[in-house]
Amino acid sequence: MKITLNVWRQSAPQAAGSFVKYEVDGVNADMSMLEMLDVLNDRLESKGEAPIAFDHDCREGICGACGFMINGVAHGPEKEITVCQTHMRSFKDGDELTLEPWRAMAFPVMRDLMVDRSAFDRIIQAGGYVSVRTGSAPEANATPVMKEHADLAFEAAACIGCGACVAACPNAAAMLFTSAKVSHLGLLPQGEPERDKRAMDMVAQMDKEGFGHCTNHGECEAVCPKGISVNFIARMNRDLLSATLRSTR
């Protein structure tokens, strides 16, 4: 098949960017989106042109490195999937695709389709952990955990930190990401002692990074490759409000 791409090209963080059109022929339906870009990049490299920069690593939808907008949808048209798992069979011969980086104040563009998501790391650093020193852990089966809670915690913990939720949210909010971690740890007895503090610290950091608020649009859940539910956002709201009322801070 032949695909026309409109790709955002930006040579450096401060540089002005623009869309550049590429015609890619010989595209095979079994190629992944990123393999199609590899093919294009090989062609560009052979000509001595700078290849299109994009983050990627595992290429199996788990590391969370990849991600950009395909025709206005974060991670492209298929549900619960990352761009690295999006295959060209999702498109037709002759399609024109617009590829654009995540756009958010807190995710500055570094180059082309690559953005800086270190704000996510700082949110986790603010409190996304259980304070347990190596070697100080009690016997694992000493604390039974209700299966329902363990399963729900797992669902929240499945977040891959890709940033699609921010990209898709009309307010560029990091609510889904932050709430996934707040909920994962808050649901488990191991995370209970720090539950209030964690919610307050992580939300404060999230706000400090310049992410927006939540209008409950639900765009984030719709594009999340791990199908993280917006129910976790409500849970985080509850945790934060009750923590603020309850804590001595």
Partner: protein, 226 residues
Amino acid sequence: MSWLQSLYASTIGKKAVMAITGLIIFGFTLGHMAGNLLAFFGEDTFNTYAATLKGNPPLLWGTRLLLLTVIPLHFLTAFQLIKRSNDARPAAYAKWQPQRSTYASRTIRFGGIYLLGFILYHLAHYTLHLTNPEFAGYHDAQGRHDAFRMVVEGFSNPINVAVYLVAMLSLVFHLSHGAWSMFQSMGLNHPKYNQLRERAAWTLAIVLTVGFSSVPLAVLTGVVHR
């Protein structure tokens, strides 16, 4: 009270304020709408109702005070959030396709701004009588303020009715999203009841809008007349 300040400074705290103020305004409008429906029972009933309210200063001023705090808080917070959201995405997408959000959620800001204009106009119109100073001088047979006549005359003007109806349209959208969104913002969420929450939001929004709109429409079509 620094914890309150820091709560208000946070996005989640602000949303809680939106939700609680929204809920209070919502509650008021439900009552207000029910009261307005008394217009269908004729001049006497309606004026009695209006006079009863006015004759009860604690209730009247209590409600006014509450609304005077809550409505400005609602829209001030709204403007702060809108600004924050705009700052959070300085460069818009060349292409963006909504996946899950609704027309109602995406337009809640614009509906809100229209509602703000409407409320100001509405107060100038019927409460402060700034637009129609003559309203203040209407009295019925028992010497009470003739609110019924004021309403009927007010809605005899089709432009006026249009302003009100557009406001009610904004309200239906504002609330069809807002009325369940506020639960989410306050952290009231349970998968088992979420669907109920959304249906109730729509139902109430429609009841409210139909209820409110019925009065101007009834006047315009002559169903309610003096």
